[in-house]
């Protein structure tokens, strides 16, 4: 079964509508979800550590 997905950013691409199969689409989403779950936690932890590091750096700078 084909599924039409609108190319929403039409000014950035050539074709107004693009075709992709439902199976390929579902598989792509499943793969993306697993990968993005790992990636999003990694991103969040890194950002959180950066914020914590900056806070501690500021306070320890004050100690000097």
């Amino acid at each position: 079964m084909d599924r039409t997905v609108t190319c929403a950013l039409s000014h950035l691409c050539d074709c107004p509508t693009c075709q992709i199969t439902q199976e390929a689409f579902t598989e792509m989403n499943r793969t993306n979800n697993m990968a993005s779950n790992y990636k999003k936690y990694r991103t969040a932890i890194l950002l959180g550590l950066l914020a914590l590091g900056l806070f501690l750096f500021t306070v320890f700078s004050g100690l000097h």
Partner: protein, 526 residues
């Protein structure tokens, strides 16, 4: 409606909680976005009321309505609440609503953390507003919280420090959510350089927040320990350095200005192409200009401290680096004008506010350049010229872009078109009122009227009276904004999914109002 939009409508889960607990427990980005926006509106009116009290007091010389202590409480709380309670939460509300819709994500990356990010904000607001009722009243040391004054105050100072911690935590959590969503949850095919400008500006803003909010948290933590635990970080009597606080504060404070204005650039960059019916001119240069502004914002902080005293080399460095920011900002203004150039323009309310933004923000930018000149700044330091400058940036800049964004996306949010006539009334009264309030302040500042005083010399009377009349026009015209929003929520002409003829982007492929769950299946962008 596109096929994709139909698909999203069918994907919509039937689960749609109702009642009060829906709002308390919600993890839905649209609900949380709505709560941020409503919270910001309430804070806008709270701090706006304080502004009207300030202007009423300044209508004529002498003390009429307030005593000096209460006046200083009003100016301090007006600044703190407008920045941390109104403008920042409003932009976060836009981010919550629009970023997932624009990148084709089903929700924010961490919905539960998103809920917490919002719900700690009202607690901070209660601390801030409640401090008016404590012994000694609210904080009166200015929104910059400079020691030694801030070390000496009563219990409300501790509450304010706690509130700043909470608001900072909220911002950091919100930023982590936004960055993670944008970097990891974009629809297949939506590369970074295809992202809408609003998403780009919020990505950069979120990085700015993560880099600066911990610094502010560190500074106020040191204030807190100085006040309560006998440390002497900023207490000169104990070997501390109060000027160090200013350096740390402005290392946060100047990027904060861009935190307040970069999302505004993003909103305007969405609106102008829509109503000019042309793609944004110089998309890539817009991205690079925004990034440049963000980087430069970290090396200019001491231009707020020329009058404190620093070596000439330092003055020159901070003067020229500040002026350098005019280059990427000029690129942006040029691109907005070039987008409008020969476009098929129409002037609906969002476009009117966007055009006013471009014109009036530029006025604020130019007065910023004047203040960047070190010898001039020493003359104008702490005068009404500075007040005029940052209100042109934050009212006709940040606030007008918020108005523009609300009018632009309100049909998508509510499913109804807003009342265009009332919208135009709101625009014209706001624009005229805003200029009547703040333009005369340039003259007052140049003539030497200091800021943060409830009384003034007779020669400043006329311009102050004009400013006060303008303030009441501007203030009461915001009631029209509330009426427009309420009318659109209640009903009105049904909005199509596209809403605006020239609008482009994923958010316009979903029905209006946007279903409770969107993009459960990611769309494909080519």
């Amino acid at each position: 409606m596109s096929d994709a939009a139909h698909a999203h409508a069918h994907d919509d889960h039937s689960h749609h909680p109702t009642g009060l607990m829906r709002w308390v427990k919600t993890t839905n980005h649209k609900d949380i976005g709505t709560m941020y926006l409503m919270f910001a509106l309430i804070m806008l009116f709270s701090a706006g009321t304080m502004a009207l009290l300030i202007r009423a007091e300044l209508f004529q010389p002498g003390l009429q309505l307030t005593n000096p202590e209460f006046f200083n409480q009003l100016t301090t709380m007006h600044g703190l609440i407008m920045i941390f309670g109104a403008i920042m939460p409003a932009f976060t509300g836009f981010a919550n609503w629009q970023v997932p819709l624009m990148v084709g994500a089903p929700d924010m990356a961490f919905p539960r953390m998103n809920n917490w990010s919002f719900w700690i904000l009202p607690v901070a607001a209660i601390f801030l507003l409640g401090s008016f009722f404590l012994p000694g009243g609210a904080v009166a040391g200015g929104w910059t919280m400079y020691p030694p004054l801030f070390i000496q105050g009563g219990i409300s100072y501790d509450l304010t420090i706690l509130a700043v911690h909470i608001m900072g935590l909220s911002s950091i959590m919100g930023s982590i959510n936004i960055i993670t969503t944008i970097l990891n949850m974009r629809a297949p095919g939506l590369t970074l350089m295809k992202m809408p400008l609003f998403v780009w500006t919020w990505l950069i803003t979120a990085y700015l927040l993560i880099a600066t909010m911990p610094v502010l948290a560190g500074a106020v933590t040191m204030l807190l320990t100085d006040r309560n635990f006998g440390t002497h970080f900023f207490n000169a009597a104990g070997g501390g350095d109060p000027v160090m606080f200013q350096h740390i504060f402005w290392f946060f404070g100047h990027p904060e200005v861009y935190i307040l204005i970069l999302p505004a650039f993003g909103i305007v960059s969405q609106i102008i192409p829509t109503f000019a019916r042309k793609p944004l001119f110089g998309y890539a240069s817009m991205v690079y200009a925004t990034s440049s502004i963000a980087v430069l914002s970290f090396i200019v902080w001491a231009h707020h401290m020329f009058a404190v005293g620093m070596p000439v080399t330092g003055q020159l460095f901070f003067m020229f680096s500040t002026m350098l920011i005019a280059v990427p900002t000029g690129v942006k203004v040029f691109n907005w004008v070039a987008t409008m150039w020969k476009g098929s323009m129409t002037f609906e309310t969002p476009m009117l506010f966007a055009i006013a933004f471009v014109c009036l923000f530029t006025v604020g930018g130019f007065s910023g350049l004047v203040l960047a000149i070190a010898p001039v700044d020493i003359q104008l330091q702490d005068t009404y010229y500075v007040v005029a400058h940052f209100h042109y940036v934050l009212v006709s800049g940040a606030l007008f872009s918020i108005f523009a964004g609300v009018y632009y996306w309100l049909p998508k949010w509510t499913g109804h078109m807003y009342d265009e006539t009332l919208g135009k009334w709101h625009f014209w009264l706001s624009t005229i009122g805003m200029n009547i309030v703040f333009f005369p302040m340039h003259f007052l500042g140049l003539a030497g009227m200091p800021r943060r005083i409830p009384d003034y010399a007779l020669q400043f009377t006329e311009f102050n009276q004009i400013a006060t009349v303008g303030a009441f026009i501007f203030g009461f015209s915001q009631l029209i904004f509330v009426v427009v929003i309420m009318k659109a929520i209640k009903g009105g002409q049904k909005a199509t999914s596209q809403v605006w003829e020239g609008a482009e982007g994923l958010e316009w492929t979903v029905p209006s109002p946007a279903p409770y769950h969107t993009f459960v299946t990611a769309p494909l962008v080519r």
